[in-house]
């Protein structure tokens, strides 16, 4: 089932186009990473999906309804970048308010506070919270009532590594229960293993959209091999594989995705001369740089 259908969406502010003809269809239960440099149009796209700002051209459907309609808003959870709340309220009061607006039981809001690790601080004013704690309040409200679509703008900024891990556990749980999750982030390494699909925006255009394997294939970026040879064989291994000696007796070499198996065979054939080897496919960071640069006429 299509949860979110964005087709040829354009957003103009005066003469400047910040989103230029973006199309994206997201299925229920999919976890999509929305990547892009600052000002690439990620937040604008999210705001259009929420109906906070109108589209200049094109159309968006949220669960078959117009963005900003009551149906769409009831089914959507949103975590804004730098989530802010009124400092005079306590975490519990703020979350209870959101629960009332979404017709969710107040006990569910209390459970959510515990889930994000704020149970002990729930009755303190938000003014006294750290950035990470405010981010947790933001996360808790976005996930209240198990939304069908969760839009998370930079959700892990301000969270420590352990909290980030816990955050992605919650996201996994949500996705398993059928929630579509759209995450915009700069923390590429953590998204790499936690998302089903990656969409890259660059200067308002969608320059890549697919799963990690698909993007790697299309980008044709080299796969890195790191072969560790015995001390006395290092030179001959380097010469045989046409690699570069690094770090004493290691040999670094690269190949294309389709040559991987053949190269692996050649390494295996070296037998006793090899003590270890690692294969490193292009990281999301490299892919991101690759796709963003194409659009800017770089590379």
């Amino acid at each position: 089932m299509t949860a979110l259908a964005i087709s040829n969406v354009v957003k103009r502010y005066g003469a400047t186009e910040t989103v230029c003809g973006v199309s994206l269809e997201v299925e229920a239960g999919q976890r999509v990473a929305l990547l892009g440099h600052n000002g690439a149009g990620k937040t604008t796209l999210m705001k259009m999906v929420l109906g906070l700002t109108p589209v200049s051209a094109g159309s968006i459907e949220v669960l078959g309804s117009q963005p900003g309609s009551r149906t769409a808003r009831t089914a959507t959870g949103f975590l804004p970048e730098n989530a802010a709340f009124h400092g005079a309220l306590t975490g519990r009061e703020q979350l209870h308010h959101f629960a009332r607006l979404k017709s969710v039981a107040l006990s569910a809001a209390d459970d959510m506070l515990t889930r994000v690790g704020l149970a002990a601080a729930a009755d303190r004013r938000i003014r006294t919270y750290s950035k990470g704690m405010r981010q947790r309040v933001g996360l808790a409200q976005a996930l209240l009532g198990r939304p069908q679509i969760a839009l998370l703008d930079e959700p892990t900024s301000g969270l420590d590594p352990v909290s980030r891990h816990e955050f992605y556990d919650i996201v996994d749980e949500l996705a398993q229960s059928g929630t579509t999750v759209l995450i915009s982030s700069h923390a590429l390494t953590e998204l790499e293993t936690r998302c089903d699909r990656i969409a890259i925006l660059s200067a308002g255009q969608l320059v890549a959209d697919g799963d990690l394997a698909g993007l790697r294939k299309a980008a044709r970026l080299p796969v890195r091999f790191n072969v560790t040879a015995t001390m006395e064989m290092a030179d001959s291994v380097a010469a045989h594989l046409q690699g570069k000696r690094v770090n004493g007796h290691s040999v670094a070499l690269t190949c294309q995705e389709n040559e991987k198996i053949e190269l692996l065979g050649r390494i295996a054939a070296l037998g006793q001369a090899i003590t270890d080897f690692d294969v490193e496919p292009p990281s999301l960071e490299e892919l991101y740089r690759h796709y963003s640069a194409i659009d800017r006429g770089g590379l």
Binding site: K47, L50, F78, P80, N82, L89, E93, H97, L101, K102
Partner: protein
Amino acid sequence: MPVFHVTRLELMIARRNWWVATSVILMAIFSVVLTLAGGAPTGSLGVAPVLVATTSITTLSVYLVPLIALLLSHDAIAGEVERGTLALSLSYPLSRAEILIGKFLAHLLVLAFAIAVGLVLAAALIAFRFGLPELSIPPLLRLFLTSLTLGAAFLGMGYCVSGLVRQPSVATGMVIVIWLISVVLYDLGLLGALVADNGGTFTRSVFPWLLVANPADAFRMLNMPDVSVAVLASGLSAAGSVSGTTGQLVSLLSWPVLTLVFAWTAFRKVEL
């Protein structure tokens, strides 16, 4: 009802707002002081103590009620936009009209509380000093309701400013100017024009309408209907008789309605 959820939240915030606490205390102190001080002339003038008290409190309310209302309302939209809380609120099933009305109801309740505290204290003092028979309720009730309407008018103006400007600091500056113009400078300007006109057409046909058009003056006239009492405060009653109570009421009641509609129109255009 989403509107009442917003009202509830705003009341929680107001409860912890020291501006609100200060204004309630100020209203209470001034009401008590004016009622006590106002008791002095009753003997010689033979005016009912309630009328003396309401006249004094009217003069006070004309300054304080608009000020409290503007302080409560100026941050309502611009402040939320700047903090980034508005975008989040609007991602919930909640319309801009519901947010505005919810805030308005909360702020109105705060004003009602501040006004009521002062009036109840004044009434208690009158009953204590002059005995229960001297305590007539209608003037007090009229003062309460008109003060609240005056407050509503200035709440509306505060929301208009808050919806039109981007920064809360600009909104603060603008509401201070609005307050200064409507409760101080407007009357001074009219007075200057009266002196310059020296009893001409302006004085007879334009001035009374200009006077009643200002909600603060309409409020003042509504609460000083008795000519003998009006002498205690100012010479406005003569002008008041031209527009009549209906004119004063229409002016005072249309301000909240018109400003709220305008504020909502401005709020709808705020892009996030």
